[in-house]
Structure formats: structure tokens, C-alpha cells
Amino acid sequence: MNPVLAIVAPFLAAFTIPLFFVFRKRWIGSSIVLFGILSALLSLFVAAGGERAVVMGGWNPEVGITLVVDSLSTAFLILAALGFSASLSAATEAFGYGPWRFYVLFFLSWAATNGIILTGDLFNLFVFFEIFSVAAYLVVAYPPRSWQAIEAGFKYLIFGTVGALFLLIGIAYAFMATGQLNMAILARVLPRAPETTLSVVIGCLVVGLFIKSGTVPGHFWLPDAHSSAQTPVSALLSGVFVKVSLYALIRLTFLLFGNADGRVFFVLLLFGTVTLCLGHLMAFQQEDIKRLLAYSTVAQVGTIVIAIGCASAGGIAAAVYHAFNHMAAKMGLFLVAGVLAEDRASRDIAQMRGLFRHRPLFVLAFCLFAASIAGIPPLNGFMSKWFLLVAAAERGALIPAAAVVAGTVLSAAYYLRAITAFFSPAETEPPHLRPHPVTGAIVMLLALLGLVLALAPYIDPLREGLLAVGSDTSSGARYIGRVLQ
């Protein structure tokens, strides 16, 4: 199956939903569901179709735009498909089918995400990043009546645009030095560029991606956006959007700068450690549960950046594994937190007492996800943290490893605070009690996914797959060979 279908299917959805609105209003709901299923299935089929590279328009890779499916993009395609379908189902329950424009934006961001994951062309990456970001600013700002959402969306927009400009400068310098845009060709010719040019390219691209992914110092938009957005959107932001930028970071650093004597990886280790510490320390002080989760996301981004900074096959495998685990757990946490906050009509942790009696299953799921994120064995979060620690130890990065370990304790402390509140007796009954069957089902599925992921190191195909992602990506030779065969 041609990889482009994974991008075109959500695009088609985004382009036809307005037509349904104009001509057949009644079909909007079912078309959203159908397109959602179609997009997810096509992404999975493309992921299952094995490695290959196709060029748009039938040109050669140098001239046209290449789409590449390799093990890394396969992994992230699956991640995106899972995350988007979960968020879509939650959104249809939370909003209904009324705000059809929201779903248009949703599908556009899906298409852009798949585009970022599949594209093998540097400028095309930028274009997809822009669609993705613009859609992200807007889904954050939905609904337009909430001023927090608007402010968060605006902040995100300013940051995102600055980040995009840095990306664009990086691409411009790379193009200026080589005249090429294809990433596989750039991987060959870029190292021959002058030293200072290369450092500008690396610096601008890395900082641009830092901003997009929420790594310090580009993290300032993230807590605002994640906490102010609606629940399904927060879940999507934390579960998928952040990971996509990290995917680009993995791809670009290893493909383009992998052999630039490793200094870029030192930068990643440094900033990853700072991000991790800052995220945990800030989450520790939050009273708003969604903001707490958002800062925890910052910390987890730092963890993944550290894993990338280990510059080894094991590090990449740990990063991908951790990305999956964080997706499963953090989406679940945001969904549960949204439901519980709605019950109490408040996001203040101090207000959320007595919710265990109220919704025992949701609270238990929260505990499970929190334990997984904090890295309590033998849950999935612990497993990926272990891989990361081993990778860091092999690299000799002791301080980042120590920070990761210390973060475990700190995150256990702040999650424990929330959980204690849920379990402690309440003076008043929660004012709201709306059933959330779909969200409940998704939370259960995510918990199940988490348990499966916890077993991943013991399931041969999964473990081999993860290690293959690491070894394929770290050298880049396989990718280049695939594109330029």
C-alpha cells in the first residue's frame, strides 16, 4: 500500500466534512467516525506494509518529494494512529458532532502528523510542521469562549511561529550550503559543509524542535496549552503532538548530524536533563491537576530527549519505548483527570476529595497510569526507564541517569498527593455525575495497552522490533540506502 494514503485519508476527511455540512448535515457524525476508522486503518496498513520509499510524482528522490517508511516511522505511525483514534473517540463523547470545524482541524492535524512521520524531505517536513502547528494552536483554543484557551492558544502560536522560523533558518542554511533538500542526500553531503554553517544548521533545527516539543527553554507554552485545552485535546497534545516533534528530533539528529562528532548529543543530554528536573520540580508545586500533568509531560519530554542524547541504538529504542509508554499513560491520566475535574467542577487537587467512592474504576486507572509514569515496577514506565538508564550508563551519562532516577521519587511524591486526595473522605458529594462510557472504555483500553507494553521486553517480536528501530536509526545507512536505491 502506498504510504501517501496515510496522509491523504485524513486530508480527504478534512476536505469533505465541510461539504457534508453544506449538503448533507445528517451525515456529518457518521462520516467523522468512518473517516476516523479509515485513517487509523490506513495508517496501520502502511505501518504493516514494511519498509519502502516512494517518490511523489514518480520522480527520482533528488527531484521529487520522498515518503519513507522505515522502522522508526512505522513505530510512530502506530503511535499516532492509536493516539488519534483514542482522542477522536473521547472527543465525540465530550463534544458531540456539533463543532464540525473542530473535527476538520483534528483531521488536518492527523494528516500533518502522518506527513511529518513519513516525509523524507526537509522542506516538506517544515510545511507539515506548519499545518500541524496551526491546527494545534486552534484545537488548543477551542472552545473560543474560554479565555484561558485563547490565551494559551495565542502563546502557543507565538512560540510555535518563532520555532518554525528557526526551523526555516536551519533548512535555509542547509539548502544554502548544499543545494539539496532530500534528507537522505543531505545526510551524505551536509557533513562536508563548513563548520560554522553546520553549527548554525544544527543549532537552529534543534532549538526549533525544542520549542515544538516543549523542551526547556521552549517549554513555556506547554503547561498553559495542555492545561487550558479541553480534555480530549490535552490527551492528544500530550500523547501524540509532543511525540511527533520528538520523532523529528530523533530523525534529524541521527540522520543529518549523527557523525558530527557527537556534540549535538551533548546538547541534547544537557537540555534533556534540565527539562527533566524543571518539569518535575514545577509539577511538584502545582495545585491544578491538569497543570500538574502538563509539567509532568515536560519532565517526560526531558526523559525522552535524554534517551536521544545517549546517541546509541539502545538510547533510541528506549526513547521510542518511552514515547509509547508515556502516550498510553498520559492520555489515560488526562482523560481520567478531565472526568474527575468535571465531577467536582474544579481542577484544584484540594477540591478533588472523595472521588474514589464516586468513581472507583477511574481512580484506580489513574493510580495505575500514575504508577506507570512514575516508574513503579513492573509497569511499562519502569521498563522503559530501565532501558534508558542502561543506555545512559553505557554512554557514561551519569548525571542525566541520576536525574531520571531522582525524578522517579519526585513524581511519585506529586502523584501521591493527587491520589491521596482522591482516596481521602469528602465533606460533600460531587455535584456532577455524568456517565462516560466511551471515555471509560478508552481508559480501560489504554490501561490494557500499558500492560501489554510492560510485557514488551519479554515478547520476542516486540523486543526485536524495538531493538531494530534503534539499530536502524542510529546508523542511518539503512535509511539512506532505502531512499537512494
Binding site: A172, G179, Q286
Partner: protein, 112 residues
């Protein structure tokens, strides 16, 4: 010739950055963003410069054409930039509704 063009581009970029960093009016922030973008686009376009080149329209009348690739992706980037600016302005209108101001330092409902 070429260094001047690159230099101008970088100077425009820096003016944009300075605007963002020092001005408090949101509209000026957006102007700063546009300036930065303009700087980058000038940089890209300059990189396609060919001494004595002709426009890349077939047939090439009298000489070698300039590099058309930067032109094409400048066009793309312009459109993207325009979309960003439009969106930013729309957001500013909304923000003004809530805060009654366009002073960037006063729009601090979310922090900590």
C-alpha cells in the same frame, strides 16, 4: 553583491527579533514575526542568485536562469507566513475582547 544581500536579510531578521523582544504591543510582536520571516525568505531567495541570471521562464532568453528552487519554496513559505499572521491577528482580536488591552506584559492570566 551577494554579501550585501545576505547581510540585509540577516539585519532584517535581527530587527524583527529586536521588535519582538522589546515591544510590548501585540501588533508589533506580529510585525516582528513578519519581519523575521521576511529576513529568512530574503536569505533563501539570495541563495538562488546567479550572476547575470534571467528569470526561470522557458525559453531562457539570453543567459543562464537563476535557481528556481528557492523561489518555489519562498512562495510556499510566504503563504504559510501569511496564514500565521492572519491567525495571530485573529487571536489578538479575541484577546483584546477579554483583557481590553494589547499590552503583552498585561496578558498574563496563565503563569506559574
Amino acid at each position: 553583491m551577494l554579501p550585501i544581500s545576505y547581510g540585509t536579510a540577516i539585519i532584517v531578521f535581527c530587527i524583527g527579533l529586536y521588535t519582538i523582544l522589546s515591544k510590548r504591543n501585540l501588533f508589533k510582536t506580529v510585525i516582528g514575526l513578519s519581519l523575521m520571516e521576511g529576513g529568512v525568505l530574503m536569505l533563501i531567495t539570495s541563495s538562488g542568485y546567479v550572476p547575470g541570471g534571467v528569470p526561470a521562464l522557458l525559453p531562457f532568453a539570453g543567459g543562464e536562469p537563476v535557481n528556481p528552487l528557492p523561489h518555489s519554496f519562498t512562495l510556499t513559505a510566504i503563504v504559510i507566513g501569511a496564514a500565521d499572521v492572519a491567525l495571530a491577528l485573529a487571536f489578538i482580536i479575541k484577546i483584546h475582547r477579554r483583557y481590553g488591552t494589547v499590552d503583552i506584559d498585561k496578558i498574563r492570566g496563565l503563569r506559574g
